[in-house]
């Protein structure tokens, strides 16, 4: 479980996050949604320690991550997997080498065992064996995301962070990635945090939703709650598309 207690962050006197409280539970897909520029990605970068927060606390299963020094943070980071918006695969390494990388650095296993674990992770995300020796530039966007997930789970993380996992993907591939995130969350019983503004993903996999607006937590609840919310910003966001407007009309008729 990750507890966020009253965190704030500003850049050059411009407040980006203001006094955010959140509880992100283990074994659940916790989604943080909001419009572009709302502060979602900054919140995620604060959560993983890429940005230092100005005030408040972030606790990883009770451990005060935001108050720790570099070395202690490093220990917790070994329990963290992250899926970046652009995948962030190392372009000088092959698919297999990318997944083997965290194991090579942190595991004391033999090279054979490391390779075996990496192959298992790649198989788990349904990457065909022929792709293992390709470089990231030679594979599709959807495959890159799957390889990034394989790399993120290689060290059996306790926390998984995903920054807009569906950006740039077609609807079918998006669903594959969404389902993979959901399955992995349940299979490994990890705390998953997903940043998104894709309502399909929200309705597909979320267990808990937090809506960020102008750097503040505006609303939180389940996916059933969000469809019936009367918060105007949430309604504007959820029912922005004509399709969702039609869904709303149907809900009202019932």
């Amino acid at each position: 479980m990750i507890e966020i207690q009253g965190i704030s962050k500003s850049f050059e006197n411009k407040d980006v996050l203001t006094n955010i409280d959140l509880n992100l539970e283990r074994g659940k897909v916790n989604m943080i949604i909001g419009k572009s520029g709302a502060g979602k990605s900054v919140l995620l970068k604060c959560l993983v320690g890429l940005f230092d927060i100005d005030s408040g606390h972030i606790l990883y299963d009770g451990r005060p991550f935001s108050d720790m020094g570099y070395q202690k943070k490093k220990e917790i980071r070994k329990e963290v997997g992250m899926l970046f918006q652009g995948s962030a695969l190392f372009d000088s390494k092959t698919v297999l080498e990318n997944v083997m990388f965290p194991l090579t650095i942190f595991s004391e296993k033999s090279q054979e065992e490391i390779k075996e674990r990496a192959l298992f992770c790649l198989k788990r995300v349904k990457i065909e064996e022929q792709a293992n020796n390709l470089f990231p530039a030679e594979i599709s966007g959807g495959m890159k995301k799957r390889v990034a997930i394989a790399r993120a789970i290689a060290l059996q993380p306790r926390y998984l962070f995903c920054d807009e996992p569906n950006s740039g993907l077609d609807p079918q591939t998006s669903i594959v990635i969404d389902n993979l995130i959901k399955e992995i969350t349940l299979e490994f019983d990890i705390t998953t945090v997903v940043i998104s503004h894709d309502m399909n993903s929200v309705m597909e996999i979320s267990d808990f939703i937090s809506f960020i607006h102008q750097g503040q937590k505006w609303w939180e609840g389940s996916r059933d709650d969000i469809l019936n919310s009367d918060n105007q910003e949430v309604v504007d966001f959820v029912y922005a598309s004509n399709f969702m407007k039609a869904v709303r009309e149907n809900l009202k008729k019932r």
């Binding site: 993983v48 320690g49 890429l50 490093k74 220990e75 980071r77 070994k78 963290v80 992250m82 970046f84 918006q85 652009g86 962030a88 695969l89 190392f90 372009d91 990388f101 965290p102 090579t104 650095i105 942190f106 962070f161």
Partner: protein, 247 residues
């Protein structure tokens, strides 16, 4: 950002780069890879430049020292000493600032803007130590070797010029390059090459690490890495010459 802010950030980056690595074996493998990229990859351009520099230097010496009052060994001696003292360590380092420096800044800059460096950080890997330290250590190993190769090939270039053009007889040239050899000049060249290796790799790595934005900014970082490396090399050339040769 002011120059003091850059100096502060550069200093912090260097401290982080030389922090204890996560796995020595992995870092050593990276050093070997970088030695290949920086050293072996630079040999062709260094060879071409050195041969031509040596040849042109001999022709110019022959043109300038055409008086019968000038001793017969002058052209060969001047070519040899010019190669050892200045052309091999400094000019070759300036060329490598262009080749190696832009490559380092471009590579690290791209890694920065595509979040690959953030990915390392989140995994718990010290990106500065993993990415920068092997480049600097590799450059420290290979730059002196490159300078020695350059001196040899430059002198060979002079020899080829004497054979092909006949402006200086081969006997006079060989006599000249063997005349009054000062071994300390080699030490001076190697010391300079070590300083220049550190300047090129650290300045270029810094420029790569502070990149933010996109393709244009990555290109700008490469350009800045080359320009700043060249200026600092020339400044240190002056300081080291004063300290090592005239003090």
């Amino acid at each position: 950002m002011s120059i003091f802010s850059h100096l502060g950030k550069y200093y912090i980056l260097m401290i982080q780069a030389f922090a204890k690595p996560d796995k020595l074996k992995v870092v050593w493998k990276r050093v070997i890879d970088e030695m290949e990229a920086i050293g072996v990859g630079s040999i062709p351009i260094v060879a071409i430049l050195s041969i031509f520099m040596g040849a042109v230097t001999l022709l110019q010496m022959a043109y300038n020292f055409s008086s019968p009052l000038v001793p017969p060994y002058t052209e060969g001696l001047a070519t040899r000493d010019t190669m050892i003292l200045e052309f091999a360590p400094t000019i070759i380092s300036l060329i490598l600032a262009g080749k190696v420096g832009s490559s380092i800044a471009g590579n690290l800059g791209t890694m920065k803007v595509t979040e690959q460096i953030d990915a390392l950080e989140i995994m718990g890997v010290n990106p500065q130590s993993y990415l920068i330290m092997p480049k600097m250590v590799a450059a420290l190993f290979v730059f002196p070797f490159i300078v020695v190769v350059s001196i040899f090939l430059g002198t060979l270039g002079g020899y080829l010029a004497s054979v092909l053009t006949g402006v200086v007889s081969v006997e006079k040239y060989v006599y000249g390059i063997r005349y009054d050899f000062e071994p300390y000049y080699i030490t001076y060249a190697l010391v300079k090459s070590e300083f220049f290796a550190l300047i090129i790799t650290s300045v270029s790595s810094y420029q790569g690490f502070i990149t933010s934005g996109g393709a244009k900014e990555v290109g700008d970082s490469g350009t800045r890495a080359v320009v700043y490396s060249c200026i600092i090399i020339l400044l240190f050339d002056l300081i080291l010459t004063q300290l090592l040769l005239t003090a």
